[in-house]
């Protein structure tokens, strides 16, 4: 197992704290239209450091914070924690488990944590540098974006080959 679990709180439609446990092999994520499946994919991209609100299907970055329903008020913080197993030493840290956390406030400011220690975005970037983890068209194929991996612009495709090199 690589991704052990993801916990969302206040991220998009996940107003209440929710945790998903993943298994090795193939895990299927099921549910009706609009229930929040692709929001979970967005939350994993986000906690791995995604900076573009557009690829998170949001207008501006604060749009990822739960913005209320007819019965519930909007929240002012969104937080996602992702627990990664590092038993095979895939990532350059000498621990068997790495907990990543990201938090954003309505003010737009993001906070990042690795195993509960506050870090900067560049530390997250360094942790995953050159692994391709969380990158579109390599470890995540978003809904309706099949063309990303087959893209017309040849320079978009080189990404795949360099990732593997």
């Amino acid at each position: 197992v690589f991704l052990k679990s993801v916990e969302l709180f206040g991220f998009k439609s996940f107003a209440d704290k929710s945790k998903l446990m993943f298994s090795g092999g193939i895990s299927a994520l099921l549910g009706p239209n609009g229930c929040g499946k692709s929001n979970i994919v967005d939350s994993i991209k986000w906690v791995l450091g995604e900076q573009s609100s557009k690829t998170l299907r949001a207008g501006k970055m604060e749009d990822v914070i739960f913005n209320g329903t007819e019965m519930r008020k909007q929240l002012n913080i969104a937080e996602v924690s992702l627990v990664i197993s590092n038993e095979e030493g895939y990532l350059p840290m000498d621990v068997s488990e790495i907990a990543l956390k990201r938090r954003v406030y309505r003010s737009g400011e993001s906070e990042y944590y690795i195993n509960n220690v506050p870090v900067k975005l560049k530390d997250i970037r360094e942790l995953f540098f050159d692994t391709g983890i969380g990158k579109s068209a390599y470890s995540i194929l978003e809904q309706g974006k099949i063309d990303q991996i087959l893209s017309h612009r040849p320079e978009d495709r080189r990404y795949i080959f360099e990732e593997a090199a």
């Binding site: 929710s18 193939i26 983890i133 040849p154």
Partner: protein, 163 residues
């Protein structure tokens, strides 16, 4: 770095052809450097030849053929450098039953080296999964997670979880 790129490019090129044949049940998949003299800046063209057809650019393929070609390229890359995890969000939406079957066959093989999380509405795709995670919105607008672990509840067929 040019050697490194060329080595992995040639490897993926070969794998792409193999994966393409497995997914389409024949035919040919080909990668071509648009500017072979400048390997590090050249674009890469993808050509596909479904069984019995002519080799052509991917823009001429059908919806389902494009999805299948994208999967072939993804798995060709994983043969050189597997990603520890992979999330596929409704990649089977355009596929007919026969192609879903071939896709699942390959997914099963690659799930030995990589962890896969697949989102689908297709009951056939679910049957291949080793764990089911459900998301519901009983309270309108509020997502909740329901876990049906297949290993915990063998009595519940995958399709029951879908309805």
């Amino acid at each position: 770095s040019e050697e490194l790129f060329t080595a992995s490019y040639n490897q993926i090129k070969m794998n792409f052809h193999t994966m393409f044949r497995r997914l389409f049940g024949g035919g040919r998949g080909e990668l071509r450097l648009m500017d072979p003299k400048n390997v590090l800046t050249s674009g890469i063209d993808i050509l596909a030849q479904p069984p019995g057809k002519k080799l052509e650019r991917i823009s001429l393929l059908s919806g389902g053929e494009r999805s299948l070609t994208a999967v072939a390229l993804l798995f060709a890359t994983y043969m050189v450098k597997p990603s520890p995890f992979c999330i596929l969000d409704e990649i089977d939406a355009a596929l007919d039953d026969a192609n879903v079957g071939r896709f699942l066959g390959l997914l099963e093989e690659f799930s030995r080296d990589s962890q896969f999380i697949i989102i689908t509405h297709n009951k056939k795709t679910v049957i291949g999964a080793s764990a089911l995670l459900g998301v519901t919105m009983e309270e309108p607008g509020i997502s909740k997670v329901v876990t049906y672990r297949l290993s915990d509840a063998p009595s519940m067929p995958a399709s029951a979880a879908l309805s």
